[in-house]
């Protein structure tokens, strides 16, 4: 998929662990891990909303489109 998820970068910037984010957002660590590693097929707006609220960022800070058409799936 050409959409890259920069969740780990944001976690470092906000000095937060995946566990803490999981507790704040209400998504399991395994699901966040799936999102972080780029294996997710889709993200709900409600989840994206909760993540942006927890990390105090914009969706564009977490999601990035790489135009070279690289498919990691």
């Amino acid at each position: 998929m050409a959409i890259k998820v920069n969740l780990d970068l944001m976690l470092v910037k906000r000095d937060m662990t995946l566990t803490e984010l999981s507790e704040e957002v209400g998504v399991t660590i395994s699901n966040l891990s799936i999102l972080k590693t780029g294996k997710a097929k889709a993200v709900r707006f409600s989840t994206l909303n909760a993540i942006c609220e927890a990390l105090d960022c914009q969706p564009g800070d977490i999601l990035e489109y790489e135009a070279d058409g690289r498919d990691e799936t």
């Binding site: 699901n31 966040l32 799936i34 999102l35 294996k39 097929k41 889709a42 993200v43 709900r44 989840t47």
Partner: protein
Amino acid sequence: MPVRFVAPAISLQKEEYISMARSNVLFFILTLIYVFVFFWFLRKFIASLRTPAFFTRQNALYLYTTATLVLIARFLSGGGLPGYAQIFSEYQFTGASKIETGLDISIVLFFFGLILLVVGWCFDQGVKLQKEQDLTI
């Protein structure tokens, strides 16, 4: 044993009788094995209805296997050696000169198998949707 239905009015050569009896016993055993395998796969599929993970690849395969077994049944009940044995074990006489078999449900089984195959394909699509749902955060 199915051989108990042989009526004494029919004149059979001993060798012919033994051949028919053997083929009938073989068919009887094959039918038992077939029925066991069929219900084993069907039971596995039905048992999975109680689990939360219902739309899985394994359950789709169980359904496909059950459908294939039903399709095969059409050919097992139709002709060749099993058909010969069927005449021997289940029949009616008319004036001791005519042997009639029972109702042939093989074509019904064939269509039922096809329908089951379509259901299996729909289930497979459900498995794909479930996979996508599992990877939706």
